[in-house]
């Protein structure tokens, strides 16, 4: 917003008396907020200049005084006191007196009950950070445990699950995400095939573009890109939804009605995510390969049949199934952390924002860490 002070109405300070002796300041006009700056400096400068032994402030000509103006008068009184002057107000109009009485001089000097919030040092910061991290770890682990218990319960008692909710979340997290998943994985496949073809062309190894792309997309890029998109689209939405419910005391209402909020709110979201994320991953794989196919046909003079044949022979079921299992685990982590961050919300709008951000960041972190763990595990298992 543009800062522009309103054209101020005039005020005046008239000085009478002799330097170093008895001095009278006569204030007039509007002693108000819009004049505050020049008033303050004007009054202080005259006090400095005259250096009176006795100061009287005549208020009879004051036309308008607001509380900011009254503050100037009190500050002047304070300044006079610190110089141990003989100070007094004179001819105070009734309205002016009313305002000055409203201000409590002792309250104005009261120190803040909480000291400056930013006054922490590096060691404190570090300690606080470590403590928060540990607490967070405990909370996430506890939540994951409760979530797994709820999942197990749901498997044993399928009728207890709110399937309508599951279906609606499947639509929101899965179907509504199809356009962006298609676009990103298609273009990613296209770019990857294009860049690798530029390199492989130099060695006459064009035919390896299809297997390279197939393995890269199915094993790594498909699951990771899908998980990242779902974390951004749905993990954040879950955190914001539950967080807002928490702020509105809706979660408390559920508890008092005897519902388990995890089973009621988190489980449908987690189940829905665990169903749709592997499906989305499979879809992303297909789109990625389609992107490669376009490059193969248009840029490498391969026929579509050869390209697809090369892709098919380079992939086995042992490439596809583990990557879908991985996608399922990603889904559990994304939805789980989204819900957990939502339940953590305390306070108001800002806390919801923090929880949403934290849900996405934590999900991305977990996705990458879990993916590395899977890569190692698959390697040693020989998959």
């Amino acid at each position: 917003m543009k800062k522009r002070a309103v054209t101020p109405l005039p005020y005046s300070i008239e000085v009478a008396g002799e330097k170093g002796k008895e001095v009278v300041f006569s204030l007039g006009g509007r002693i108000a907020l819009e004049n505050l700056r020049s008033l303050n400096s004007g009054v202080q400068a005259r006090l400095q200049e005259m250096a009176p032994a006795k100061l009287t402030v005549d208020l009879s000509r004051v036309e308008y005084l607001d509380s900011a103006g009254a503050l100037v008068l009190l500050k002047l009184q304070q300044a006079a006191r610190t110089r141990s002057l003989d100070f007094q107000f004179a001819n105070i109009p009734a309205t002016v007196r009313g305002i000055m009485d409203l201000l409590d001089r002792e309250d104005l000097a009261a120190p803040p009950l909480i000291k400056d919030r930013d006054a922490t040092n590096l060691v404190e910061e570090l300690g606080g950070g470590a403590k928060r991290f540990t607490e967070d770890l405990v909370q996430v682990t506890t939540f994951l445990g409760e979530l797994l218990r709820a999942l197990a319960y749901a498997l044993l008692h399928p009728r207890s699950v709110r399937w309508n909710d599951v279906a609606s979340y499947m639509k929101r997290a899965g179907m509504d995400g199809l356009p962006i998943v298609s676009l990103i994985s298609f273009l990613l496949g296209l770019i990857l095939a294009f860049m690798s073809s530029l390199q492989l062309k130099q060695f006459g190894a064009n035919v390896y573009v299809a297997p390279l792309l197939a393995i890269a997309v199915v094993k790594e890029l498909g699951p990771i890109m899908t998980a990242i998109l779902v974390a951004g689209r749905s993990g954040s939405a879950f955190a914001a939804e539950i967080g807002t419910m928490k702020v509105n005391e809706e979660v408390d209402a559920l508890i008092t009605m005897g519902f388990d909020p995890i089973r009621f709110l988190a489980l449908p979201k987690v189940l829905a995510a665990m169903v749709v994320v592997p499906l989305l991953t499979l879809y992303a794989d297909i789109c990625g390969i389609a992107g490669g196919l376009v490059v193969g046909v248009l840029g490498l003079d391969l026929t579509a049949y050869t390209y697809l044949q090369d892709t098919r022979t380079s992939l086995t079921i042992l490439d596809i199934v583990p990557s879908l299992i991985k996608a399922g685990v990603f889904a559990l982590l994304i939805a789980g952390i989204g819900c957990q961050r939502g339940f953590q919300v305390r306070g108001g709008a800002e806390a919801v924002g923090t929880a949403t951000t934290s849900a996405v960041v934590a999900a991305l972190f977990l996705i990458i860490v879990t993916d590395s763990a899977f890569a190692l595990a698959f390697h040693y298992l020989g998959i």
Binding site: L71, G98, L102, I114
Partner: protein, 267 residues
């Protein structure tokens, strides 16, 4: 360019004029042809049962809703104006205390109160700090400048909201249900605060409430809206109206009698 004189010139005239105001949401007419004035320095209480449109009326007066018909003139400026400069002046000259205080949760009380000063004046941080301290002291919250809204009670939040509404020393303060959700003591404290600020600073106040105690303690004048009449059914001195109003709806309201016609009994 518009100058402060415009506002000063209107010293003699009523500070707010509501002229034939009509509020309508879709086909649902809340009230029609409501006209009244608010005089400088008075505390006007708008009251009525639930759903009579008193909060809607307040929202029209502060410019949150554009009227379906009629107009609101605040300090000589028609609230329907598009002129940014005029609107800025009007907004500077008024303050609103919302039902739950509406403090910004991510800012300390000092930052909340200092925000309008930062945006609308060219004061130095030091001067702003002094004014903020003074405003908080004015609402009996001295020392709470570094607290966050979530760390204080409901009554304190309202008082802090009042300090923020008063940051620019407005000519008019609007209150939406000031005592709603407060315990009797906090509510009474807030009433006393409202009265002392009105007496000390001469600020005009428009209060929407249905708390009888508040009404009898703070109101100089009331206007009463009615849902079925879709408009004002009474105005004047509350003490007078309580005992001598010929209108049974008014007498019922003040004496807490369930309606003779408000809500027909079902058999």
């Amino acid at each position: 360019m518009l100058k402060l004189e415009t506002i000063q010139d209107s010293l003699q005239t009523p500070i707010i004029e509501v002229d034939e105001l009509t509020a309508r949401f879709g086909d649902n007419t809340i009230f029609e042809g409501v006209s009244f004035q608010v005089n400088r320095g008075e505390i006007l209480v708008i009251l009525g049962g639930s759903g009579c449109g008193k909060s809607t009326l307040l929202k029209h007066m502060v410019g949150l809703i554009q009227p379906a018909g009629g107009k609101v003139i605040l300090s000589g400026i028609d609230m329907r104006t598009d002129a940014a400069e005029e609107l800025r002046l009007v907004k500077m000259g008024m303050g609103v205390l919302f039902q739950s205080g509406a403090l910004f949760g991510s800012m300390t009380l000092a930052e909340n109160v200092g925000l309008p000063l930062q945006e609308y004046t060219d004061l130095s941080p030091r001067e702003i700090q002094d004014i903020v301290k003074m405003k908080l002291a004015l609402v009996n919250l001295a020392g709470y400048e570094n607290h966050l809204p979530e760390e204080i009670s409901g009554g304190m939040k309202k008082r802090a909201g009042l300090a923020r509404a008063m940051a620019l020393d407005p000519h008019v303060l609007f209150f939406d249900e000031p005592s709603a959700g407060l315990d009797p003591i906090s509510a009474a404290e807030l009433d006393i605060l409202i009265k002392s600020i009105n007496a000390g600073l001469g600020t005009t106040m428009v209060v929407v409430t249905h708390e009888l105690e508040s009404i009898s303690s703070i109101a100089h004048r009331i206007i009463m809206l009615d849902k079925n009449a879709r408009g004002i059914i009474a105005q004047g001195d509350p003490r007078e109206l309580k005992d001598h109003s010929p209108d049974p709806r008014v007498a019922d309201f003040f004496n807490r009698r369930p309606g003779t016609g408000h809500q027909p009994k079902r058999n």
